[in-house]
Amino acid sequence: MKRSRFKLATHAAYVSAFLTLIAASRVWADPPTTWGRPFDASLDGNKIDWLFKFTTIAIGILFVIMAAILIWATVMQRDTGGRKAQYEHGIGRKHLLLTALVSSIIFFGVDGTLLYSSFVDLTETFWKWPTAKDHPVEVEVYAQQWVWNFRLAGPDGKFNTPDDVVTINDLHLPVNTPVFVKIKSKDVIHSFYLPNMRIKQDAFPGSITQLWFEPTKPGQYVVGCAQHCGVSHYKMHGTMTVESQQEYERWLHDESTAAKRRFDQADSDAHWGWDWEI
């Protein structure tokens, strides 16, 4: 009786594994190019990728140890009658020391390394804002349901003037130049998300947030919205075109000339830009 029950449970395990294998086969039928993080096209994305790698290795080791103990105990130490379990409350000094030791090794080894690297990365890179010396490209982002508005200052270097280049879902940037982005939102919270730059930043109505990055590889990348912003949240995405300095300047010049021609002082909704200096 007991034997057949065990068998039935084993069969259930097989059936369950089989069902999930069917699900898996649907994936293998159409093998993907890559399921990893998208191509990193930024100067500093590799720092984030390094942290990913370190964390994956560290928790991978911990997980394998944990799973091995769990599976070993479950399979090998089943109650088959006969002798009793070990009578051990684990309150002796050596037990407590062992727990303390293992926890500290994990905390200082894994969390400590991550904390140190993150502090360095944040203070020296991600939260070290570009200064005038770095000559960053300055961009204003204005999020609204469900588009990204971008504003570049134009030749005069000042925002909210007639020569500003204002685009919708279409951001152009020069390669190998830091980009300093200031973000606000018109209606609800959005999140400015650049997967290829490994970075994102929320956009709030009523306040201004910022981020910076430096694209290093020309190409077209996606600008997504990461924060649920209503029914058409999934449609809120644009393109970021990273091009050579000359191409970028030619584009900026053409667009700026056209913008001046189109400028309408009376259209107050279009003047959402704001003046700022680094």
């Binding site: 395990a13 898996a24 190019t33 928790i59 293992v102 991550l114 490994r198 970075i199 912003c229």
Partner: protein
């Protein structure tokens, strides 16, 4: 507190006669055991509803634009059975809300909190039986409001379960649905607070003689700590709900700002209030399960819980830390660098008590004699999925990696592993473990094990798939991720997750059949079928009488006296059983 002082401190509990009318006995009951069942029935119904909604979400992600099979033509009548974008936003909003506030909370806290606390500490009932009844009916009223919100014009709430302002104000989600969501959350919060006050006081005042703090089962520790967190932090959610309600109905501007409204409020204020509650909430949901499986692992490994006191204290430490880490939900809101880094450090510190818990669980089963009953399998499964979920949390605690992962499916995979998969398995461990005591009948053990494997394998497939797809960059809450060219190649992975989810959903059928069949027709259960040590098994009948114990037992031992070599006739010693007298003498000698 020493056990001999405890007698004076123990509140006198009178035996009240059992009510005889149907209404007082089963509907407006003040008996904690009946209220526990009411909460569990309510919670299981909502678990089914929330699970069905998850299937609709997964259907849309696997087969965008294909009508939902069978029930689609009624549920999504306006769009020919296709899940529309508006319906989709409502689905993920209500799925989250239902699972957290209307499934897990009623089952684990309302249900097992009510059932276990008085029985396990040797009390006749909760200290405030009327409040206990009100707690259930507040939850029931809240459930009615929530269900009704599906049928109002413009549909149910759609701003996400977090309902961030300003999307959750009239600006983003006009209509009654979102307002009713706020009311339902407030009422559910009231219910939770009433329960919490009751649990805290009951544990402090009504422990049986000899039941000192460190003789309490870890189940009671988990539930008691949860109650404390609830009493402290649910009011914060209540305040956020009130302000949101005022913004929605009375035109105040607490959270409104920006060009659309010219308001002077701050949408970030909502996030602070929400997460001051929201982070403790994830521990509120998991702590009962932690406590329960800490006991179950020891019970079925036939071995004392390793470092019992340390496990209890680690849970206390996690409770304290849970109050000061909420900022890690807001790393990309542009908070001050100093604040962000402080939250990062504090979050990482939680890994210390969490690591201690894991070490103690693993040590508990190591060198044990494991009885792989259904509750034990579910508990071992919990350790596995929580390990996976907890470890993946490290990526999110770390600000640079969170800059990339925030609001992606990685987050969804992580929190589902920790507070959905783990609590799900913990809930079934509890259901199977206390089933004989609760209903006085035995369930079918074989089908319970079948149910375990049909749950455990797909649940890992679903949420690990989400980790992978999130790592690839896909955001959460996208109606159709194929809108992004970048994610189109991930579609097979989405299909895989969805089909695994369907397998998980249909894997619950053995449970439903087994549960209903056994409640009515199961074999009569013995008093202590599991051969364990705690009071409800050793001193109360299955099911317990109305006043639980004819005589309140006096507790002598801790809850995990297994395989004591001094006990020769069996491998366990009940909490009220003295050690064989010769052995006591032998043990006392060296001390004296």
């Amino acid at each position: 507190m020493e056990s001999h002082e405890h007698d004076q401190d123990h509140d006198e509990q009178h035996i009240h006669p059992e009510p005889t009318s149907f209404i007082r006995k089963y509907i407006f009951s003040m008996d904690h055991k009946v209220i526990a069942k009411q909460f569990i029935w309510l919670g299981l119904s909502f678990l089914f509803l929330g699970g069905t909604m998850a299937m609709m979400i997964r259907w849309q992600l696997a087969n965008p634009g294909v009508p939902f099979p069978i029930i689609g033509k009624w549920v999504f009548a306006g769009s020919n059975g296709i899940v529309s974008p508006a319906a989709y936003t409502s689905l993920f909003t209500m799925h989250g809300t239902i699972m957290i506030f209307f499934a897990i909370t009623p089952i684990m806290i309302g249900g097992y909190g009510n059932f276990c606390i008085p029985l396990m500490i040797g009390a006749r009932d909760m200290v405030f039986p009327t409040l206990n009844m009100l707690s259930f009916w507040a939850q029931f009223t809240s459930s009615c409001v929530l269900v009704a919100s599906f049928f109002v014009p413009m549909g149910a709430a759609a701003a996400g379960w977090t309902s961030y302002a300003t999307l959750s104000t009239q600006l983003g989600t006009p209509g009654w649905g979102q307002t009713m969501w706020v009311i339902a959350i407030f009422l559910a919060g009231m219910s939770t607070i009433m329960g919490a006050v009751n649990y805290i006081t009951t544990v402090i005042r009504l422990r049986a003689p000899g039941m000192t703090w460190f003789k309490m089962p870890l189940t009671v520790w988990g539930l008691w700590l949860t109650a404390i967190l609830n009493a402290l932090f649910v009011p914060v959610l209540g305040s956020a709900a009130i302000l949101l309600f005022l913004d929605r109905t009375f035109g105040t501007h607490f959270f409104l700002a920006g060009a659309m409204v010219k308001g002077g409020g701050d949408p970030l204020l909502y996030q602070h209030l929400f997460w001051i509650f929201g982070h403790p909430e994830v521990y509120i949901l998991i702590l009962p399960a932690w406590g329960i499986i800490s006991d179950i692992l020891s019970f079925f490994a036939r071995k004392p819980a390793y470092s019992y006191k340390v496990t209890a204290l680690a849970m206390v430490a996690i409770c304290v830390l849970s109050a000061v880490v909420y900022g890690h939900h807001m790393f990309v809101t542009s908070m001050s660098p100093l604040l962000g880094e402080s939250f990062m450090v504090l979050t990482m510190i939680i890994s210390v008590p969490a690591c201690v818990l894991f070490l103690n669980w693993l040590h508990t089963i190591w060198q044990g004699r494991l009885r792989l009953t259904a509750p034990m399998l579910f508990s071992l499964g919990l350790v596995f999925v929580f390990g996976l979920g907890g470890l993946t949390g490290i990526y999110l605690a770390d600000i640079p990696t969170d800059l990339y992962l925030h609001d992606t499916y990685f987050v969804v995979g992580h929190f589902h592993l920790t507070m959905a998969a783990a609590v799900f398995l913990g809930a079934f461990a509890s259901i199977y473990f206390w089933f004989p005591k609760m209903f006085g009948r035995q369930f079918n053990h074989t089908w319970a094990k079948v149910h375990f494997w049909l749950s455990f394998i797909p649940i890992n497939m679903v949420f690990c798939g989400m980790l992978v797809i999130g790592n690839a960059g896909m955001q959460r809450r996208l109606y159709n991720p194929n809108e992004y060219e970048l994610f189109r190649h991930l579609h097979p992975l989405n299909v895989f997750i969805s089909y695994s989810a369907f397998a998980l959903y249909f894997g619950q059928i053995p449970f439903i059949i087994n549960f209903f069949y056994s409640v009515f027709f199961g074999k009569k259960a013995e008093q202590n079928p599991w051969e364990v040590t705690t009071l409800e098994w050793t001193h109360a009948s299955s099911p317990p009488v109305h006043h639980n114990y004819d005589v309140i037992p006096t507790v002598l031992n801790g809850p995990h006296e297994f395989s004591n070599p001094l006990v020769t006739d069996k491998d366990w010693l009940g909490q009220c059983e003295p050690l064989p007298s010769a052995a006591v003498v032998a043990e006392k000698k060296p001390a004296g």
